[in-house]
């Protein structure tokens, strides 16, 4: 491939992958050709976290391969690096990480202190990944009484402990920690465990008061409330953990004469015009740098400790609860949610103190598998594209994963035929007749319409009648499809149910909820199947959308936007779409139940329910009537509703049937914390969640969707369910739910009040048969 054709933003990413792939392969050839593959978090560019495949060569001499249970996040440092703040030196792509805990998988030559299966904590070179190759000197057995989650913080505990060591904190000394983040909290807790007296945590707000006092500090000082408190602290040792250049003076004020100030936070930025006499000399203070890189396996002076000693001491503190870390853990993150977590971190979410990536949440395949040195995993070669927040959806959408498109046009495979009688032979009736004839397991055996000519038109030689009783009396009719005007749906449906016929009801189920409920009750009483014709659930895009939501790729749902443009012909209120007969029920609120929402948008309302698996909880709305159609139309032509979902999401549902010059267009957009799903063409989705065969930070197209006759497919699945004695996928309960949404929306428009949706508690959305 020509280099020039690779977008510049992608080049470092590809180069990084290539270099790593080649290096680990070369290593693995030298070690017998075996490799391991797992999952890692990496940062392709500032502000972005992604999940990818990690390949490592088998451990070499003096190395240990560990399958991690947890890796610990250092919020302050990782935030600074991910945001690439000034003072940070880093080259992206970056692989963050400090320490973790897990199980030894394999040891290299010369490693004797741990063996496969050992529970260990490991530090120094441990990335946020399900696998880590660590040199043996940084692998420490976890004491039996300590938890892996606590031990995963080992490196951070050592950092805090080393700060106290450098400050030579002694038993009975007063220790003040400036800062309230993770390292500060660990320092306060370890100081207590060491026997320091009157440990105080100093912060600029009270946000971390309770976590500080939980099991670490004896005192919490909020400088925002009590700026003078510093001068009263008179500490033997002040541990500065904020890393802010300005905090140094505050730290000095908190120290008693001859006190020691430990610089444990990495100072980001320069201190201007420093007066060392005022800072240190006047009160003979010491300023002690404590950076973990100066703690090594050597002992520079007799008073110094080695890394190993610090590690063993820190792990020892975890036993018997002398150092409690669990109460500092605010977040246990599924690594597949890393993108969402790191965006929170980037934005400066102060609720994050102790965070762990929980690698046990991954399945075995993703977590640790043997790999071959010859070929990289196939999914590693997939075309990648780094996410740039400033770019809109790219013109070239990434090809969707197979699970999104597989089997979207599936038809039932069971035997048997369900014989239908069609009731109502108007415009929709004609379409249903064709669908019954084209579905593989349904047959049209009779038609009925009060206008006998319409019934004869559609019968095409089969039995036809203008009398309902005649059709219902026929033993060869197993089920009826009712496509009458809305106001007789319930009447006809109830009669059919009593005659023992299964019922497929054209949507809406009835003109209001009360009538819909009486129809459902009648069908239950007669033990016949009932389905409401929300057949667009079988549209491939809709099914694909549900799969995306079900797999959690959008994360927590935040908002839904539905916009429906319909442009109806002038004849609509007088003679229906086809004009085959005179009819005026559509313009009557009593007969139709309403206008564009109940007549048209109800399909989209059902699609939203289906995609989200949620029902609306509360609504407000307003309607507008026809302006250019004076002949007494009572129903709305435009409607705007705001809705709330029980999970906290909001929706805006808008529809009009006078979208002049726009034709028929429907837009459904579903936005979640982790991604966006757009159903107007080109249908596409974006996710910050890796896994499920997709990479974080990309727009995926839906690809070419199969052509599906939704009416015939719907009838085929209904027939299959009835023939196999199952509840149909789109059941009467679904019709009721949509009706409940619509009743609430109409009521809210009538009353001008926020209105609760009255949903029966019982119906659960049936598992989709077509998805099996």
């Amino acid at each position: 491939m020509e280099l020039a054709r690779i977008p510049p933003s992608v080049r470092p990413h590809l180069q990084d992958r290539l270099v790593r792939s080649v290096t680990s392969r070369a290593k693995s050839f030298a070690r017998g050709g075996r490799m391991w593959a797992g999952t890692e978090v990496y940062w392709p560019q500032p502000g972005v976290a992604d999940v990818g495949i990690l390949e490592v060569a088998a451990p070499g001499p003096g190395e240990v391969l560990i399958q991690t249970d947890f890796t610990a996040v250092s919020p302050g440092t990782e935030r600074a690096f991910l945001n690439f703040v000034s003072g940070v030196v880093a080259k992206f792509p970056l692989r963050p990480g400090y320490s973790g805990a897990g199980t030894v998988v394999q040891v290299g030559r010369g490693v004797t202190h741990v063996g496969p299966g050992a529970r260990v904590a490991c530090t120094e070179t441990v990335p946020h990944a399900s696998l880590a190759v660590v040199r043996a000197g940084r692998v420490f057995p976890i004491p039996t009484a300590a938890s892996a989650a606590d031990a995963a913080f080992l490196q951070l505990a050592i950092i805090a402990q080393y700060g106290l060591r450098r400050g030579r904190v002694g038993r009975g000394e007063r220790v003040v920690v400036v800062g309230a983040g993770l390292i500060a909290q660990l320092a306060a807790r370890i100081a207590r465990a060491w026997g320091a007296k009157g440990v105080a945590v100093v912060a600029s707000s009270s946000a971390k008061r309770s976590i500080s006092l939980a099991s670490g500090a004896d005192q919490f000082v909020d400088l925002g409330r009590d700026p003078g408190a510093l001068d009263r602290l008179r500490a033997d040792v002040v541990v500065e953990v904020t890393g802010s250049p300005d905090a140094l003076e505050a730290a000095a004020r908190a120290a008693a004469p001859e006190g020691r100030i430990v610089l444990l936070g990495s100072t980001r930025g320069l201190n201007r015009g420093v007066d060392f006499d005022a800072l240190l000399r006047d009160r003979e203070l010491s300023l002690v740098g404590a950076h973990i890189s100066t703690l090594t396996d050597d002992r520079p002076t007799p008073e110094d400790t080695t890394y190993r000693e610090e590690a063993h001491e820190a792990l020892g503190l975890l036993v018997g609860g002398r150092l409690r870390i669990d109460s500092l853990i605010t977040d246990v993150v599924n690594p597949l949610d890393a993108a969402v977590f790191y965006r929170r971190l980037c934005r400066g979410d102060q609720d994050i103190v102790g965070a762990l990536l929980d690698w046990g949440k991954l399945d075995d395949e993703r977590r640790c598998r043997r790999s071959f040195a010859l070929l990289p995993p196939r999914d590693m070669l997939r075309k990648g594209r780094a996410y740039d927040q400033d770019e809109g959806p790219p013109s070239l959408l990434t090809t969707p994963p197979r699970w999104l498109v597989e089997g979207l046009d599936a038809l039932p495979s069971g035997g048997g035929v369900l014989r239908f009688g069609l009731i109502g032979c108007g415009g929709m009736g004609a379409r249903h007749a064709a669908a019954i004839r084209s579905a593989p397991n349904t047959e049209l055996v009779a038609t009925m319409d009060a206008d006998g000519n319409l019934a004869r038109d559609l019968a095409a030689g089969a039995f036809h009648t203008s009398r309902l009783e005649e059709l219902l009396a026929r033993p060869d009719v197993d089920a009826v499809l009712i496509a009458t005007p809305n106001h007789v749906h319930d009447v006809v449906g109830i009669q059919a149910a009593r005659a023992g016929k299964h019922v497929v009801m054209e949507k809406p189920m009835a003109q209001n909820l009360v009538r819909a409920e009486s129809l459902l009750a009648a069908c239950r009483a007669s033990d016949v199947a009932l389905s409401v014709g929300y057949c667009f659930r079988y549209a491939p895009e809709v099914r694909a959308a549900r799969r995306i939501v079900e797999r959690g790729l959008l994360g927590r749902l935040l908002s839904v936007q539905l916009t429906c443009y319909f442009d109806k012909p002038p004849a609509y209120y007088g003679s229906g779409r086809t004009g085959r007969t005179h009819s005026d029920w559509r313009s009557s609120r009593e007969k139709s139940g309403g206008g564009v929402m109940i007549m048209n948008m109800s399909h989209q309302l059902d699609q939203i329910r289906f995609i989200l698996g949620q029902d609306v909880m509360r609504v407000t709305s307003a309607v507008a009537g026809t302006l250019d159609c004076p002949q007494g139309v009572e129903v709305e032509d435009a409607i705007a509703a705001q809705v709330e979902f029980p999970g906290g999401a909001v929706g805006s549902l808008f529809g009009t049937c006078f979208a002049r010059g726009l034709g028929n267009q429907v837009e459904i957009r579903i936005l979640g914390e982790a991604g966006s799903l757009i159903l107007d063409p080109p249908a596409r989705f974006f996710t910050l969640r890796g896994g499920e065969g997709v990479s974080a930070g990309r727009w995926y197209g839906f690809g070419p969707m199969p052509k599906v006759d939704v009416h015939a497919t719907y009838l085929a699945w209904f027939a299959a369910a009835v023939l196999e004695g199952r509840r149909p996928e789109i059941a009467g309960e679904d019709g009721i739910a949509v009706q409940a949404w619509m009743d609430a929306i109409y009521e809210a428009a009538d009353t001008g009040r926020s209105t609760l949706v009255s949903l029966p508690a019982e119906p659960q959305m049936a598992a989709s048969a077509a998805e099996r």
């Binding site: 003072g87 450098r166 890393g243 250049p245 140094l248 001859e258 610089l263 936070g265 990495s266 100072t267 980001r268 320069l270 201190n271 201007r272 015009g273 420093v274 007066d275 060392f276 006499d277 800072l279 240190l280 000399r281 006047d282 009160r283 003979e284 203070l285 010491s286 300023l287 002690v288 740098g289 404590a290 950076h291 890189s293 100066t294 520079p300 002076t301 008073e303 110094d304």
Partner: protein, 142 residues
């Protein structure tokens, strides 16, 4: 202040230097700057077994093998150079009165990352106990 008082307070400072900097017998120290205070501190350090060399300007070569550095000049450029060039984990004492502020200090790169320990020591009237110890030291080394 009499000559004797001055000597006592300088010796007291030296003794505090030994204590606060945890000066060890056999370690190498550098004193930057000259004058009576430098001479006194040198004598006190040598009395504690420290091998002392005098420096005019602290360069990284000159400081490479010392673990203890004492500045008596108080000159901002010297202090800056000490922070820049003192070796990893060195202990640095600012014992001379400052002659101005330091322009920009990168505490991350100098003190934090290299593990310096910087202590300010001031030649003031010593506390009674220190003065007694200093007088004893002067007697012993007269």
């Amino acid at each position: 202040m009499s000559m004797k008082d001055a000597l006592i307070s300088q010796v007291a400072l030296g003794l505090r230097l030994v204590r606060r900097m945890r000066a060890r017998s056999g370690e190498r120290a550098a004193i930057v700057g000259g004058g009576p205070l430098a001479e006194t501190l040198r004598a006190v350090l040598e009395g504690a077994g420290v091998r002392v060399e005098a420096l005019d300007m602290p360069t990284s070569e000159a400081l490479a093998r010392v673990t203890l550095v004492v500045d008596v000049t108080g000159v901002p450029d010297v202090r800056t150079a000490l922070l820049e060039h003192a070796p990893r984990l060195a202990r640095v004492a600012f014992a001379g009165a400052g002659a101005g502020r330091l322009a920009d200090v990168d505490f991350y790169r100098t003190v934090h990352q290299r593990g310096l320990e910087v202590t300010g020591l001031s030649e003031t009237t010593p506390a009674a106990a220190d003065a007694v110890a200093a007088a004893e030291w002067v007697r012993a080394h007269a």
